[in-house]
Amino acid sequence: MNFELSEEQKMIQQSVERFVQENYDLPKRVEISSKDPGYNKDYWGSMAELGWLGLPFNEEDGGFGGNQIDTLVIMEQFGKGLVLEPFLANVVLGGGAIQMGGSEELKREILPSLIEGTKQVTLAYAEQQSRFDLEDVATSARQEGDKYIINGQKSMVLNAESADHLVVVTRTSGGQVDEEGITLFLVDSNTKGLEKQNFPTVDGLRASEITLENVEVNTERMIGDIDNGFEILKAVSNNGILALCAEAVGAMEILYKDTVEYTQQREQFDHPLSDFQVLQHRMVDMFMEYEQCKSLLFRATMETIQDPKMAQKTIHALKHLIGKSGIFVGENAVQLHGGMGVTEELRIGHFFKRLLVIDSQFGNADFHLDKFTDF
């Protein structure tokens, strides 16, 4: 039982920390976010060069054979700057699905260029009616010779605007909410019949609604076995949750620390705000929420590496706590910053927005509490 990072992990941590400090102050972030494609291509290139994009991939696919702790290290630091580059969409979700279920050919085709930063992949899983249920898939894929024909809509697809490929979750058999009968396909972004409606998200990132109308895809672009895509989707979703929660922990750290600092500087009624016991205790609560989230993040991540099946309950616990605590910390950071907290001018509001969005991704606090009670 050991919570120390390895020497390599410490080096990555320091390197990401430095990157965020140098490149991600608020004005810079706002500037990057407001221009297409919503992130900085040079930064993306640097991330590839520094090897971050290859970290969790197997060595035979051009990666460095890292695990979820390496991703945690990167995402926690990203959370401290609200990094905009599509690491989650590419490395954890899209790339993660291919790594887990793609054929050797597919991995060789896609992963090296993803790791080099030259091609992008994302995951299209949610649908309007599905809310947070991964197994609720109405988008159909119907076999026709050596092709499948996909019809349906996908919602809130992260970074689809820049993605060259999409891992599309489809239904090949069974009822709309069956876990069986789900199949994943790698679809090229420019395939005929695939339309994107791009829009910004609350946290300054990008997402798209995707319409698929008689989109054709070759059978060899199937990821994993026919009708058995759910296991892959679930595992990718779990990794997505771990990565998002690591980012959230980084963001919560900024929020509580910024609040501590601000209240010490700001005077009201002839005292620094930090002198008021009620505000002190509120900050203690924020700090404790942060620490508890960090503890559960470590637990869920370590358990996932040891035994993903056993870790499922802890992952539900984590996503619940991060959702609830993240919003608690965000709301109170805003409250303690007073009027300034409700403006776009201070960074805390932006961190709060990110935590709000994280709660709505891969199931919110209520959803995971409910799932937790099934164990």
Partner: protein
């Protein structure tokens, strides 16, 4: 104790309803001319255009119950928008402290919705500690005008206002509540710069306003020099009650439930989800209780007792309820809560929901932060003032 409205009150309610019904905007009607016409007709009803003004200034002179009925009905009706700054904030001060000349000069335009006012109280760095203000007004040697320099912040709709009523400091030698002077002056003049503040919800409602050598004739001063705090203060408590906005919240909770019922979950809707419906129920229960807390407070007012610091309870509970409504709207939007702007992604109600929630965080900050309201209750109601503070 008696819950029933008197027959007079019932008749009044019917009359109000009928008026609102008759004067709804018609399809294709121009909004702004309808709006002015509406106020004209309301005036003909006997001061319904200025419901809160006392009879001697042309208001309807209603009982507290009638005011309550009016508020309830307006929350449900289609009536024109109206801003509180001139009508509800400046006018009472003019009535109490303005000279006859000032009343005659300013009140008709307020009543006719001709002049938009904004309120210049808060300053950068002062927060809920309003009296801690630094905008300087220096009287000219001949005593004919003030020169104003300084900044205001959170000035709602300053960018569309014609005039401002403004607290300025004319003396900083005494305690900070003294030496404050209440001035009125036009916004569209040299030396006034209005800068937008974009709130988290992405909207532009509030501003920073900078004054550089703005000249204000001495006849635009309300009351005496140095007494401005006294004039402004009494109104702050009144403002707090208004901030509760319970009638509006009642309507919004109904809308919330309707929205949640439009979100399908399995064989039912989100309103069948036990955590979600429990949260809505707790919200409704708190609102039901707060409504009666307001009525009890109105009944006290009717019995001639002062609206006191209990109004802080209403502000605290009322704003928290409004925030919970917004939060539950975000939750109902599910994955679509993260869509930004007017793209019309997902559920119709999701649009703007998250922006609304983010902006709603302001409710527990402005008009005296919740923490300050609790300090007020601790001191004024519970009498927790002995000893030195720690």
């Amino acid at each position: 104790m008696d819950i029933e409205l008197s027959s007079e009150d019932l008749a009044f309610r019917d009359e109000v309803r009928a008026f609102f019904e008759e004067n709804k905007i018609k399809e294709g009607e121009d909004y702004f001319s309808w709006r002015l016409g509406w106020f004209k007709k309301a005036r003909e009803k006997g001061g319904w255009d200025v419901p809160k003004w006392p009879a001697k200034f042309g208001g309807p002179g209603w009982t507290p119950t009638q005011h309550y009925i009016w508020e309830q009905e307006t929350a449900r009706a289609t009536i024109p928008f109206d801003l509180p700054f001139g009508l509800g904030m400046l006018a009472p001060i003019l009535m109490s402290y303005g000279s006859k000349e000032q009343q005659e000069r300013f009140m008709p335009d307020i009543r006719d919705r001709k002049v938009n006012w904004c309120q210049g109280y808060s300053e950068p760095g002062a927060g809920s500690d309003l009296a801690n203000l630094k905008t300087k007004a220096v009287l000219s040697d001949d005593g004919s005008y003030y020169t104003v320099n300084g900044s205001k912040i959170w000035t709602t709709l300053a960018h569309v206002a014609d005039w401002i009523f403004c607290l300025t400091r004319t003396d900083d030698s005494g305690i900070k509540q003294q030496g404050i002077t209440f001035l009125l002056f036009p916004m569209k003049q040299e030396g006034i710069e209005v800068k937008p503040i974009i709130t988290l919800g992405g909207s532009h409602t509030v501003n920073t306003v900078h004054f550089t050598d703005v000249k204000v004739p001495v006849e635009n001063r309300i009351g005496e020099e140095g007494k401005g705090w006294t004039y402004a203060k009494g109104l702050l408590e009144h403002e707090r009650t208004g901030l509760a906005g319970l009638s509006k919240s009642l309507v919004e909770v109904e809308q919330l439930k309707e929205n949640a019922r439009s979100v399908q979950r399995g064989n039912g809707t989100l309103m069948d989800d036990s955590s979600y419906k429990s949260k809505v129920a707790e919200l409704e229960i708190d609102l039901m209780a707060t409504e009666y807390t307001e009525l009890r407070s109105l009944a006290n007012a009717a019995a001639g007792e002062e609206l006191g610091p209990e109004s802080s309870i209403l502000k605290l509970k009322g704003t928290e309820i409004k925030q919970r409504i917004q939060k539950l709207t975000v939750e109902a939007s599910g994955i679509y809560s993260s869509a930004w702007g007017d793209g019309g992604i997902g559920f119709p109600f999701a649009k703007g929901g998250t922006g609304g929630y983010l902006n709603s965080r302001y409710f527990t900050i402005y008009g005296g932060a919740s923490e300050v309201q609790k300090d007020v209750i601790a001191k004024k109601v519970l009498g927790l003032t002995k000893g030195s503070k720690k």
